[in-house]
């Protein structure tokens, strides 16, 4: 499969995305924010970091980049898009995903490993979930508290679009397990069509045992499996 990793000024997990895809044996390339075409790509990763310094609001400036217009077209045509951390914030700002991300409840930037419950294992981003339904991956963000109004939340719940929730080791989305105050422990969601998803934790930083966890690989592997079934390569 061929992945593209968007590169905004100030992105800093772009390398991590590229590296993770390559470790899993697939191709990846960068796509500069001033480009206006996605080009021959099977899936797009919108990486973490501090695009445009996260000035004004996290992701607020990046969404107006030329490449984002192309990304919207790619998504509308059914292309697989995953936003991670700042990438999730950008996708929310761009309206590709519902809700918004606000400052962590404790007001501090928070970096640690968390457990994620795969809340819906039947999506292009979660289908390769382990039997336990729980994966351990790092978070690293200051504005990761997911917020959406009640109506949106109901819609998300009904259509099973909440994909990942912060949980404890046993898979219970408890208050203690919530690192940032996200409503309903939401760590990540997808759009209505199910081809665009975003999450605050970093699965791409958990694809090799040597860096503490390989359990995040299942997210990228889910995308790869989906693509191979679609016959793209």
């Amino acid at each position: 499969m061929r992945f593209s990793v968007l590169q905004f000024p100030g992105a800093n997990s772009d390398q991590d995305c590229l590296h993770a895809v390559r470790v899993l044996g697939h191709e990846a390339r960068y796509l500069w924010h001033k480009e206006s075409e996605i080009g021959g790509t099977d899936a797009v990763l919108v990486p973490g970091g501090f695009s445009y310094g996260d000035y004004l609001r996290a992701g607020a400036i990046a969404r107006f980049s030329p490449i984002m217009q192309a990304l919207v077209r790619f998504a509308n045509e059914g292309g697989l898009v995953l936003g991670i951390c700042n990438g999730f914030q950008i996708l929310c700002e761009a309206g590709l995903l519902p809700g918004a991300l606000i400052r962590n409840r404790e007001l501090h930037f928070r970096c640690e490993h968390v457990f994620l419950k795969i809340a819906n294992p039947e999506t292009p981003f979660t289908r390769v979930a382990p039997d336990s339904g729980v994966i351990r991956v790092p978070i690293a963000h200051g504005e990761g508290c997911y917020f959406a109004d009640q109506e949106t939340l109901s819609r998300l719940t009904e259509s099973r679009r909440i994909l990942w929730q912060y949980c404890d080791q046993e898979g219970t989305p408890s208050e203690d397990a919530n690192p940032n105050g996200s409503v309903q422990n939401i760590a990540g969601v997808c759009n209505e069509k199910g081809n665009v998803a975003g999450l605050m934790p970093h699965p791409e930083r958990a694809c090799e045992p040597v860096i503490g966890s390989a359990e995040g690989a299942s997210v990228l592997e889910s995308m790869i499996q989906t693509l191979s079934e679609r016959g793209q390569h």
Binding site: L56, A100, I102, R103, L107, C145
Partner: protein
């Protein structure tokens, strides 16, 4: 002239920063404060406050300067 834009978190949105400031105020003995919302303030040098420009700026606020999902804004010209 200047356009002064105040952006505040929506009432329904938890504002942990505002809460922290309120706690600190109480801690420091500044009583009589009920609630605190911490927002942003932008000052723009602008050429006019014509209805047409006001509409333009309103759009910019809605589309870019604030995030309507979590924020309200208020514009004043001076």
């Amino acid at each position: 002239m200047k356009a002064k834009i105040t952006i505040t978190p929506k009432k329904a949105v938890l504002d942990p920063q505002g809460k922290a400031v309120l706690n600190a105020l109480e801690h420091l003995g500044y009583d009589g404060v009920g609630d605190v919302r911490v927002g942003k303030y932008l000052e723009l040098d602008v050429a006019s406050d014509s209805p047409e420009f006001r509409r333009t700026l309103d759009e910019a606020c809605h589309r870019f300067l604030s995030n309507p999902v979590i924020e309200d804004y208020h514009v004043e010209f001076e």
